[in-house]
């Protein structure tokens, strides 16, 4: 069994207030090794049986039309992975 994984991140040039809040938590724990934190989204699309080209095509369309908003986000990856058991 396989899944289609779609990863979406806020655009690099945009402020990511959620990531900034997490970076603040790092600093409060005395952790200064990391300059920036950005928070994105991982979607897992589960299919019955094998992932086909049609699945991939539909996943790409959904990623562009619904799962991401091109004004504020980038799709950074769409790939097939083995389904976690």
């Amino acid at each position: 069994m396989a899944i289609i994984v779609i990863e979406v991140m806020p655009k690099k040039e945009l402020l990511d207030p959620a990531g900034k809040a997490v970076l603040g938590a790092f600093h409060r724990q005395g952790m200064s090794d990391f300059r920036e934190v950005r928070i994105g989204k991982r979607f897992e699309l589960h299919v019955e049986g094998d992932v086909t080209d049609a699945h991939r095509e539909k996943a790409k369309t959904l990623a562009e039309d619904l799962l991401s908003n091109g004004v504020i986000e980038d799709i950074v990856d769409i790939r097939v992975e083995d389904s976690p058991a």
């Binding site: 402020l15 004004v71 504020i72």
Partner: protein, 231 residues
Amino acid sequence: MKVGVVTFPGSLDDRDALRAIRLAGGEPVALWHGEHDLRGVDALVLPGGFSYGDYLRCGAIAAHSPIMAEVIEAAHKGMPVLGICNGFQMLVETGLLPGGLIRNDHGDFICRDQKLRVENTDTPWTNGYREGQEITIPLKNGEGGFIADGETLKRIEGENLVTFRYVEVNPNGSLHDIAGLRNDTGKIVGLMPHPEHAVESGFGPDTAQAMKSGTDGLVMFQSLLRQVMAA
């Protein structure tokens, strides 16, 4: 004049919007997200709230609701549409208005009586204001930061699409202090603050004259009716 207000799962201010339309002298019509029926309305309001719990992105799932097919079609044909808060987020998600709305730069939800400047009165929703008029209406959001890329911002400013700008306080980090926008025809307007919460004395923002007496939001709904009477 019939003005529809669409209720989505998680809408909060749909009833306030219906009430505002009634107080302005219009006939409010409640519409349901799951239907493909605008019930013969002449204009539409997409109300505030947290449709679908703000899952995915604010307004994103609602923007793909069944009724939105009819809303988008009507909007393209020139029906006046007002998107308030979550409704504004839906309008940018559908691409009817440019740009995007992201989490407030300070990371907090904010609720305050907000001063705005009316920058554009050439819309069915703002023709009752004076150009440059300052109004105060409630603002309440967690994700009201308006953003757009440089080119889009240039177009928004160049084509005079900014309809409302924050005055004194920019409450959420919106670029160019943008609180609300119109499309190129002016028929579609979206804003983060809530005109429907400032329509009846006793229940609005404080003014210099008296507590809770602010009704600056009522003009937005009266503008719509005035526009239609004149047409």
